[in-house]
Symmetry: C2
Subunit: 180 residues, 2 copies
């Protein structure tokens, strides 16, 4: 994986892919599937929705760190598998054959098999809505991925795969941050 | 358009489509393009990110109401056009040939041309992050749309179109809310 410019990171989450979020509680790594995410600033700052119902939440609360990893379509059954078992009784990295890699800033692991990994620090837990505001502090992208298509969870057990890409850069020139 | 069950509304936003958000300030209707949205609860409750930089924000703040409309791929140039001009000097409904329809609960208009329209009330403005928490109060879906594919803004001026849909309902049975 190679470093990606922080200014471009919002383009990983803005399209709304389902993501994997890793944590490390000081003893063990864990990973959860999340589809409730939102860009909130180009800084880059994100929000995710998670709470006590996720085993990972405890580690997130304690360490105030996580990694948001972007899986591709070939990882669908891993994404679903991770989302339907618990780190309370399962070593998910082992169970799903994921390769943890050390991050540059946070202790939560990167996932080698993913398209990109965003190291994040918690800015604030907005408890009344279970919203967690995160700042990206480092980003890594796969050097030469064979698969780039991501997945969008519908929420009913189906997933939409990225289709073709349409270009409106010229029309949007005035609205795109410099260098993107 | 026909009424959609409120319990299913989160499935419209969970995949992360770019959306149109309409408002009505008491005199005029307006509409903006937003891609920073997130489901925060099945109730259904959503968050969007918007602030003073959007002309619509004034009406949203004043009325605490809006409609989130879901455009389809054939509306790409409307989505881009709406996102690159301002309601301060443009009647966007007229300019882009959108048909406003009355909602059931809020005064902000539905957009006839869209796949679905979610009438929303503001729960809270979380000003320090420009996050607005919304509750859906009524939902309408197109009766027999010819086009169902939505758009995902990447943020760099390109848009990803929905591709094929993969079914993992069986594997996720325990995680899907009843009746979805």
């Amino acid at each position: 994986m190679r470093t990606m410019k922080l200014s471009k990171v919002f383009t990983l989450l803005e399209p709304g892919p389902v993501v994997l979020v890793t944590t490390h509680d000081g003893k063990r790594s864990n990973v959860m599937t999340i589809s409730w995410t939102m860009v909130v600033d180009f800084t880059p700052r994100f929000a995710i929705t998670t709470g006590e119902w996720n085993h990972s939440y405890r580690a997130l609360k304690k360490t105030r760190e996580c990694v948001i990893a972007i899986p591709t379509v070939d990882m669908l059954d891993t994404v679903v598998g991770i989302g339907t078992c618990s780190g309370a009784d399962t070593d998910k990295f082992a169970k799903f054959g994921l390769t943890p890699l050390p991050g540059k800033v946070v202790r939560a692991p990167l996932i080698k098999e993913c398209l990109a990994n965003i190291e994040c620090r918690v800015v604030e837990f907005i408890r009344r809505y279970d919203i967690v505001v995160l700042d990206a502090v480092a980003v890594h992208e796969a050097t030469s991925p064979k698969e780039r298509r991501t997945l969008h969870a519908v929420g009913d057990g189906t997933f939409v795969v990225d289709g073709r890409r349409l270009d409106r850069r010229r029309q949007m020139a005035g609205k795109i941050p410099a260098g993107i």
